[in-house]
Each structure stands twice: as structure tokens, then as C-alpha cells.
């Protein structure tokens, strides 16, 4: 008995230690973002560091005004459109790929590594390779063409892994039963498979959306004449850094967080419905 209480006290101490560690880790990961958030409400005469010189919405107003870093609204719209297209393609491709990987086929190993390579190849290299190639062929890069191309290369492995995990836990007997009862492949897919994997498809697509929305390195040389939002943010870094940038960063981060929250809600609803 005495031993067990000593044991449990030791365990509690370890747990407490880890909890403190989690808190420190949390501050490390989120601290700078909170500092940025606070400083975006800097007074009109304040700078990019503490202390705060008053509290105002001055920099936020500047952000929405016409004299801002560039045409932010237009680049935001471009980023959103691009993210939606990437989301659809990612969801579609990763579902199709994962369905193919349920069976054995020749070249599946090579294809698997090719998909994963999208995750491993740094954006700098991909961006450089495609940009030089397009330049040589004489096709001008555009955010909706070459930008879209590399975004999907980047988001596909994430969506693919999600769908692979979904099919790993999938009960194929449901499909077999439907086939035995005379359903053709399309009916089986529509009536059985799709409803069951829908939460996964949504998750894969949402991965695509957020990753594309924030993607910077791959778009650097490939967006053409018009910038996406991350490129505009990067361009504003080369000018004198002002709290406007913090307001922009805060707005963008809040938007990302809202998106993630929304996705989790949608996913949970769909998951509850299909199980």
C-alpha cells in the first residue's frame, strides 16, 4: 500500500512536470503571435516593438484604406479563389488515388513515392524548376495556372494520407454486399462508399484549402504579374516594417484559425452522420 502511494505520487509529479512543459511549449509556439496581435493595436505614433504608445485601430484602418501595402483586397480574393480550386482538386485526386491504392497494381510503389515527393521537395526548387521551364517554353506564369500546379503538388500528399487512413478503416464488406445484390460500380460508390468516406474527403479538401491559402515558397516565382496574399505580405517586408503588417498578420491568422475551426465543425457533423 505504502509503495503504491509513493508510486502514484511520483507519477503525479511527472505529470505535473510535463504539464508545465506543455505550458512553456505553448508560450513558445504562440507567444510571438500574441505579441504581434497586441502590437497591431499600437497607437499612431508607436513602432513595431513594445512599449505600446496608446491603443488605437489606426493600423487596422490603414490596412483597409486604399494606401495600404498593395492591392490587398485583390490579392486576398486571388488567394481565396486559388485555395478553393486547390481544395476541389486535392479532394478529388486524393480520393481517386486512395481508391486505386486499395488494390495492388504495378507501379504503385513508384506512384506512392512520387506523391510523397510533393511533400519533400522544397518549394524553392519546385518554383525555380517550373519557372525556368515555363520561361524557356515561353508560357507566362500565372497564379491560376502555374501557381495552381505547384499548390496541388504540395497539398496532394496530405489529402492522400488522409484518404489512405480513411480506407484503412473502411469495411469493404458493405460494398461487397451491395455488389452481390446487383448494384453496379457507380451505384456502389454513390450509395455506399461516398457517404462513408465523405468526412475524409472534406478533411482532405480542407487540408488543401489552408495549405494553399498560406503557401508562399512555391508561389514565389510562379504567380506571374499578380500576387497572392502571402506574396504581398512578403513584398511588404522589403519596405519599412510598420504595425500595419502586424494588423495584416493578425487578420490573416484569425482567418486561418476560423477556417480550421469551421472545418473541424463540418468534419464532426459529417462524421457523426456517417457513423
Amino acid at each position: 500500500m505504502a509503495r503504491s502511494t509513493a508510486e502514484s505520487r511520483r507519477k503525479a509529479r511527472i505529470k505535473a512536470g510535463f504539464s508545465v512543459y506543455y505550458a512553456i511549449f505553448f508560450i513558445f509556439v504562440y507567444g510571438p503571435m500574441f505579441a504581434m496581435f497586441t502590437l497591431s493595436f499600437q497607437g499612431p505614433h508607436g513602432g513595431v516593438t513594445f512599449p505600446m504608445r496608446g491603443f488605437s485601430f489606426y493600423w487596422w484602418e490603414k490596412l483597409t484604406g486604399p494606401s495600404a501595402v498593395g492591392d490587398l483586397k485583390a490579392s486576398l480574393v486571388r488567394s481565396l479563389i486559388l485555395a478553393v480550386i486547390v481544395m476541389i482538386i486535392t479532394a478529388l485526386f486524393s480520393t481517386m488515388l486512395a481508391m486505386a491504392f486499395r488494390k495492388r497494381f504495378r507501379g504503385s510503389g513508384a506512384l506512392f513515392y512520387a506523391v510523397m515527393a510533393g511533400l519533400m521537395v522544397p518549394g524553392t526548387l519546385l518554383s525555380l524548376g517550373l519557372a525556368t521551364l515555363l520561361r524557356q517554353v515561353g508560357i507566362p506564369p500565372n497564379w491560376w495556372s502555374s501557381g495552381l500546379a505547384v499548390h496541388v503538388v504540395w497539398t496532394l500528399p496530405f489529402g492522400f494520407l488522409v484518404m489512405m487512413a480513411v480506407f484503412n478503416r473502411f469495411d469493404a464488406r458493405l460494398e461487397e454486399a451491395a455488389r452481390d445484390m446487383g448494384a453496379d460500380e457507380w451505384t456502389v460508390f454513390k450509395e455506399i462508399t461516398l457517404p462513408l468516406i465523405l468526412p475524409g474527403i472534406v478533411a482532405a479538401g480542407l487540408f488543401g484549402f489552408t495549405l494553399s491559402y498560406d503557401e508562399f515558397a512555391r508561389t514565389t516565382l510562379l504567380s506571374g504579374a499578380q500576387n497572392t496574399l502571402p506574396l504581398d505580405i512578403n513584398a511588404s517586408l522589403t519596405q519599412r516594417v510598420q504595425p500595419t503588417l502586424f494588423a495584416l498578420g493578425t487578420a490573416s491568422t484569425i482567418f486561418s484559425l476560423l477556417m480550421i475551426g469551421l472545418f473541424i465543425v463540418i468534419y464532426t457533423i459529417l462524421y457523426r452522420r456517417s457513423h
Binding site: 503571435m33 478529388l92 522544397p122 525556368t132 460500380e185 495549405l211
Partner: protein, 333 residues
């Protein structure tokens, strides 16, 4: 192509195959055998064709072209097809290495030094990330028992991964610098008497920002490999009298190695190709290979950008191969 169209295409492709319940077509020999053994589901070629095509054109082709262009000739504001190793000679010999004009053969070229610097930052970042991420992953997977809490705490740590890394790099600016929060904090607790200036635009700030940006890439894979460990193994070891340290060394550590390897590979390739953070928190004071590549692209010397990119690729592949040699991650995939 819209979703509906491509699904319709899939349906068309699947339709002629008929219902499984209908009478089997009369066939003989090899054909019959093939028909009989055909698996149910949509045909594989149609499922993989679009993604495969996409990857070949937008992933494989650009990488191959980097290699090819690295042998081309620069014309100042473009390039012409050629087979010259001049670019590679420039890469290796600029400022010393193998330079016959200089006696000292061991002074590495400025580009090799940049690559080495990039590599050093990467290794440091990887080491710190591992030290920080492992206890975190261990805590989440082993100490937190309630599944809901586990998921919530894990997601909370992972969320920054889905926000813009550029903005997270920018967010370091108010932390560092002479008037930054870190200096204020250290002054506040009396650890230093006057603000330290090495926090911003230094190796220190660069490494710290890199760690903060990429540490979640290690937490995820390590967490998953730890969570997969069969708890009965640990109990069995405990019953047989193993100390916690023995359990960790003999069971937990070896079984979590694949996750560690995957996390380290993620961070390795991400930091090696890194270029934006260097500009934000390092003030462009030093170059990484990533910034060198972009500089040469912008100035129009495409072959030389390609040479640097190819050398970076070689260095990365070597690193990944070394990690894979050390740890067999296949069972993890």
C-alpha cells in the same frame, strides 16, 4: 474539369463492365481467367491517371529540367542550350576551391560555404526540435489518458502549422531586438543590466525562429509512432520488474524511432530549402542556399541558379538517405 464531369467520366468507364449479378460473358482460356480474377471497383488506370499526369508535368519535369539547365549557357538575361560544366566550375572554384591561382586549395568556394552554413543551421534546428518535440509527443501520447484531451492538446500544438509561416516569422520581430520582449523580460527579472543586441538579425534569432516555425513537424510523426505502441508491452515489462528508464530505452525509444526519422526528414528538407525566414529575422545578413538560388534567378543567371539548386538537391538527398539508412521507416508507411 469539374468534380461532376470527372465523376461522370468514371461512371462511363465503369458502366460497360456490367452488373456482377448478371450472367458471366462466355470466354475461354486466358481471357476467361483474367475476367474472373478482375477485382471489383473502378479501374485503376482511370483513378490514377489525372494525379500521375499532374505529378509528372509539375513535379518530375521541373526537377529534371533543373538538372538539364544547370549545363546550359547563360547569356546574361536568358540561357541557350549547351553542354558546359562552366557553371559547376564556377560553383566549386569561386573564391578558392581548386583555384590554381591560389595556393590554398582548402579554402572552400563561397557557394560551398553557403551550402555548409545552410546545412549547419539545419542540423542545429533539427537537434533542438528533437529535444523539444520528443517530450511533448511523449507527454501527449503516454501521459494524457483521456482521448478527448489528447486530441485537443495535440491539435492546439499543431494549429500553427496551418497558419502562414511567413506571418509567424514576422511575429518574431517584436520579440527580438534591443527593445524586444525577450530583452524586456530579461531586464525585468534582473538577469541582465542592459539590453542584449544579438537577439535580432543574428544566428541566434534565425535558429530560434526556425525551431519555432518547424518544431510541430517533429511533434506530429513522433506523437503518432508513440501512440501506436502496444500498451501491453509496457505493462509486461513493468510486471517483469523493468525500471521506467529501462522501459524507455528497450521498448519506447526503438519503437518511436521511425516517427523520429520522419519528423527529422520533414524538418531537414524544409529548413534546407528555407529562404524567407532568413530575410525576415536574419536581415539578409547571411545567405542561405535558398536565397542564393533566388538571387541568381532574379538577376537572370538561370543556369547558375540551377547549379545551386541541383547541389542543394544532392545535399538533401544525401541527408535523407543517411537518415533512412539509420532508421527503417518502411513499416511506418
Amino acid at each position: 474539369m469539374t468534380t461532376v464531369e470527372s465523376y461522370a467520366k468514371l461512371a462511363d468507364a465503369a458502366a460497360p463492365r456490367g452488373l456482377i449479378g448478371s450472367a458471366p460473358p462466355v470466354a475461354t482460356g486466358a481471357e476467361a481467367k483474367r475476367k474472373y480474377r478482375r477485382e471489383p471497383g473502378f479501374p485503376v488506370p482511370i483513378l490514377i491517371a489525372p494525379a500521375t499526369l499532374w505529378l509528372v508535368v509539375f513535379l518530375l519535369l521541373p526537377l529534371v529540367s533543373i538538372f538539364i539547365f544547370s549545363f546550359w549557357k547563360s547569356t546574361g538575361h536568358g540561357m541557350t542550350p549547351a553542354f558546359t560544366i562552366e557553371n559547376y566550375r564556377a560553383f566549386f572554384s569561386t573564391d578558392g576551391f581548386f583555384d590554381p591561382a591560389k595556393a590554398d586549395f582548402l579554402t572552400p568556394s563561397v557557394f560551398i560555404r553557403t551550402l555548409w552554413l545552410t546545412f549547419r543551421f539545419t542540423i542545429t534546428t533539427m537537434a533542438i526540435c528533437l529535444i523539444l518535440a520528443y517530450p511533448m509527443a511523449y507527454f501527449l501520447s503516454m501521459q494524457v489518458q483521456n482521448f478527448k484531451w489528447q486530441l485537443a492538446l495535440f491539435l492546439l500544438v499543431m494549429v500553427p502549422f496551418w497558419t502562414s509561416y511567413l506571418i509567424r516569422a514576422v511575429a518574431w520581430l517584436p520579440m527580438l531586438g534591443r527593445q524586444g520582449l525577450i530583452n524586456e523580460f530579461l531586464l525585468g527579472i534582473g538577469a541582465i543590466d542592459e539590453p542584449l543586441s544579438f537577439f535580432l538579425y543574428s544566428e541566434f534569432s534565425y535558429t530560434m525562429a526556425l525551431v519555432q516555425l518547424y518544431v510541430v513537424l517533429a511533434v506530429g510523426p513522433i506523437f503518432f509512432s508513440l501512440a501506436k505502441i502496444d500498451r501491453t508491452l509496457l505493462e509486461a515489462a513493468r510486471d517483469m520488474g523493468a525500471t521506467p528508464f529501462q522501459i524507455f530505452r528497450e521498448i519506447i525509444a526503438p519503437l518511436s524511432l521511425p516517427g523520429v526519422a520522419i519528423g527529422m526528414i520533414f524538418i531537414f528538407v524544409a529548413v534546407m530549402g528555407e529562404f524567407a525566414t532568413a530575410v525576415v529575422v536574419y536581415g539578409g545578413k547571411a545567405s542561405t542556399t535558398g536565397t542564393v538560388i533566388l538571387t541568381y534567378y532574379v538577376t537572370g543567371n538561370y543556369p547558375f541558379a540551377a547549379v545551386n539548386a541541383f547541389m542543394l538537391m544532392v545535399a538533401m538527398m544525401m541527408g535523407v538517405v543517411i537518415i533512412l539508412r539509420l532508421v527503417d521507416i518502411r513499416k511506418e508507411l
